[in-house]
């Protein structure tokens, strides 16, 4: 069992997630674009989906966002559900291409992050927030999504390493000896 955990995707994701969380709460709180905070943790969850598919994206989203909720003092799940959905959506989009190039992965990450950010106020609505849909959401969602897309060339390889995703290997079909 320990070997399974050691060789599983979570063991690398946790320390990387901790560092990203610390960066999110220190550096990226300062570095805002039009007053919007870039969501690097969400970007990694979406990038994991774009790199490894919906299941791995959802797993990464759960692990990263549970840590996020715990550290932010939010109810566990209030951010984890949107991030899980972000990873899942990015992974579902990645189905359409066998081996997405970097710019396709960027698009998938962008769209996954956008859906994830939209889901944050939706989740808040279910947890009792009176009016979570702020007018700034029309600004927040595109900025967060584009920020995730810009970070995806860095985060997709990082997600591959964290989740032990090997690059697709294309091999030529064996020659037919009968010919």
């Amino acid at each position: 069992m320990l070997a399974a955990i050691w060789q599983g995707p979570v063991i690398r994701l946790i320390p990387v997630g901790m560092i990203l969380l610390a960066l999110q709460r220190s550096l990226f709180v300062e570095i805002t674009i039009a007053g919007v905070i870039i969501q690097v943790v969400l970007a990694l969850a979406a990038a994991a989906g774009a790199a490894g598919g919906s299941e791995r994206g959802a797993t990464a989203g759960v692990v990263l966002a549970v840590m996020y909720d715990m550290l932010e003092g939010l109810p566990i799940g209030s951010t984890a559900i949107p991030m899980t959905i972000a990873g899942t959506v990015a992974g579902l989009l990645a189905i359409i291409v066998a081996d997405p190039q970097w710019w396709l992965a960027m698009i998938f990450t962008t769209m996954g992050a956008a859906v994830g950010e939209i889901m944050v106020p939706v989740t808040r609505l279910f947890t009792g927030a009176s009016d979570p849909f702020e007018p700034r959401l029309t600004l927040i969602v595109p900025v967060v999504a584009i920020g995730a897309g810009v970070l995806s060339p860095l985060f997709v390889p990082l997600a591959r390493w964290c989740l032990r995703i090997k690059s697709a290997e294309w091999v030529a079909p064996p020659r037919e000896s009968s010919l």
């Binding site: 901790m18 560092i19 969380l21 610390a22 960066l23 999110q24 709460r25 220190s26 550096l27 990226f28 709180v29 300062e30 570095i31 007053g35 919007v36 905070i37 969501q39 490894g52 598919g53 919906s54 299941e55 959802a58 759960v62 549970v66 840590m67 715990m70 550290l71 932010e72 003092g73 939010l74 109810p75 566990i76 799940g77 209030s78 951010t79 984890a80 559900i81 899980t84 959905i85 899942t88 992974g91 579902l92 990645a94 189905i95 066998a98 950010e117 944050v120 106020p121 808040r124 947890t127 927030a129 009176s130 009016d131 979570p132 702020e134 007018p135 700034r136 927040i140 967060v144 697709a168």
Partner: protein, 393 residues
Amino acid sequence: MAIYTVGRRRVIVALLLTLVLLLTLDLRGNPVLDRIRDGFARVMEPVESATDVVTTPVGRAWNGVTRYDDLERENQALQDELDRLIGTQATARLAVEEAAELKALLSLNSLAGIPTRVAKVVGASSNNLDQIIEIDIGTARGVRVGMPVVNQAGLIGKITNVTDNTAKVMLITDSRYAVSVRVQAAPEADLGPADTRPSGRTNDELEDLVTTSTGPTTTLVTDVLATESSLPQNNGSNGDVLTVDDLDPAEVPVNATPTTLDPNDPENLEPAVPVDGEVIESVSTTTTTTTVAELPAKEFGALEGRGRGLIPQIRFLQDNPSLAVLQEGDLVITAGGFDSLAPPDIPIGVVINRADRSGPGGPLLDVLPYADVTRLNFLRVVLYTPLSEVEQE
């Protein structure tokens, strides 16, 4: 290559259901999850400290590039403000002293009577919806969930989450924040006649406001030695600091005339009131009967935050023009009360807009907070416990 299969869909659904379960458990309050959260916060402390050291120069460089013009403008505006404030400092000091004196005479609950803890802002919410900041004191310094947080300008928010050495503060602009408030007419300081004190009241008005007589007496004991003043509603019998309401007039020495004693003079520090066999040292005992004009409270309502970049609003107002007209310029202060998490009379802001609504909803008042919640550095946590909880204890 990503492949979508039924098995993967089941995994995703299972993960989402697990999160929903966790969310439900956490919202209902689960001590196990709270302990895990505290433990994770402790684990993250060194990581965050190290990251902060590394990233601080980067953040400063970014701010230097992107906010230089703003800082220059702000610096100019602050310089102008400073020049103006220096001119009115003496006047303001007199007004504050006068207000404190009147409050003391009235035995009103005020922030001056409640212990506070100074805290430094060490972090902010890293998402775009919450208006939450993190401060560097926690349960180890007596901070509890629900306590109000202020700065010198006024109310900032309330404590929503506490660990041993940190606490989360939900700002008054957060869309989940609500507090009961009182709308009050602004003082007409600018309308004063020639012989006018800084408060805007004439000498005659001030004399009428507080009159001394030889009738029934009210005793006021002030413990000037206490480094942290007392909660008005604390019960002195359980060892806490004694308050005015706990005093039995028969046990308290009463002077016929108001006295003013020098707190620095050791001869004035005599044991005054026994509490559970102990003696607290008090300084001045005054006998004063007050006849006081009512402050012009217009209406009570609930102040609610509306999120980042939007100013709070007051709802649940019943506009009754025959009593008072709610209008721009009215002051907003905390109402206090049995269940309120904030004590009364903490300034919050000023009404800058009134929006009338049809139906029984009453008007909406936009409130510009005195405190700039976007630039916070040092705060004070008011160690206030609501009356309801004090009675349960």
